[in-house]
Symmetry: C2
Subunit: 146 residues, 2 copies
DNA sequence: TGTTTCTCAACACTGATTGTAGATAAGGCA
DNA sequence: TGCCTTATCTACAATCAGTGTTGAGAAACA
């Protein structure tokens, strides 16, 4: 993802206005590796700007996704997650207990896309989701089963 | 998925009661290859039993998933889809326009699960989702772009 | 500075799914 | 077969993530 300054330029270049709320969201996303939900971004943004509304957060996240600066992921955790890492092709590791998401950059960088020709599909992209338990949930699962 | 008769046995063996509503849902799922949503199952069930409630459909689908007879999939189409095919390991092809889902049985039957050990994750399963356009949506996309 | 246009926040609303509670039916047993 | 216990059913309300609307306000640009 670009820096807040670059995003400001990009938004202006695309005829979008740059507000204090948007810059706040840019800063929140910068360097966030947790694949936050809109709600999580809102909570973090609220710490810098008390009155920012959830609707504004949703709208700005959609704008960023439309410009290709973040990607939105539905990983089956009940809400859409936003991933600022759009530069390295990668897949995801999802904790089936707490929903935590981590990038898996090294695995399957060039997954062969099968041709769905026999089914008539025109296949455009492939995503792999690995599900398991994160370190924390693994730990608490162990303690519970004693 | 097992036959309606086998499912009846299985439910009884697990201390669950077998009602006309449940058997109706068993029949609806039998041989359904469309990965229906709960709503779609409800519509089909209503054709056999007018008064069956959506809540009952959700509950029975969850029971079946709990017993491992169907699997529930969140493929990013806005609702959970149910897949009666739990016998052949397979992946999914999802139409990004209409949400139609097809099985891809032959592709990557034995995807190597990377060890998430360096991230502390204990990885249990892997799913690949291929996104593209189904034959029908491809056709209408072509017609629109003329 | 003035004007235009976009964005903001508050609020109501949607659509999928779940919780509640009284009515009803299944399954075991006499 | 009829009764009794317990699970399940339906209807209804509620939840939760996300979206549409609208008047007020701020950004961009001349």
């Amino acid at each position: 993802m670009k820096t807040p300054g670059e995003l400001t330029e990009l938004f202006r270049a695309n005829g979008r206005k740059v507000t204090a709320q948007r810059q706040c969201i840019f800063r929140v996303l910068q360097g966030d590796m947790t694949h936050p939900s809109a709600e999580a971004v809102h909570v973090a943004a609220t710490r810098q700007m008390e009155t920012i509304s959830l609707k504004t957060v949703y709208q700005t996240l959609h704008d960023l996704a439309e410009l290709g600066e973040i990607s939105s992921l539905d990983l089956g955790t009940g809400m859409i997650r936003f991933d600022p890492n759009v530069d390295d092709p990668h897949h995801h590791l999802v904790c089936r207990h707490c929903g935590k998401v981590r990038d898996l950059v090294a695995a399957f960088p060039d997954l062969q896309i099968p041709n769905g020709a026999d089914l008539g599909f025109e296949v455009g992209s492939a995503e792999i989701v690995f599900r398991g338990l994160c370190p924390e949930c693994r730990q608490s699962a162990l303690q519970l089963s004693i």
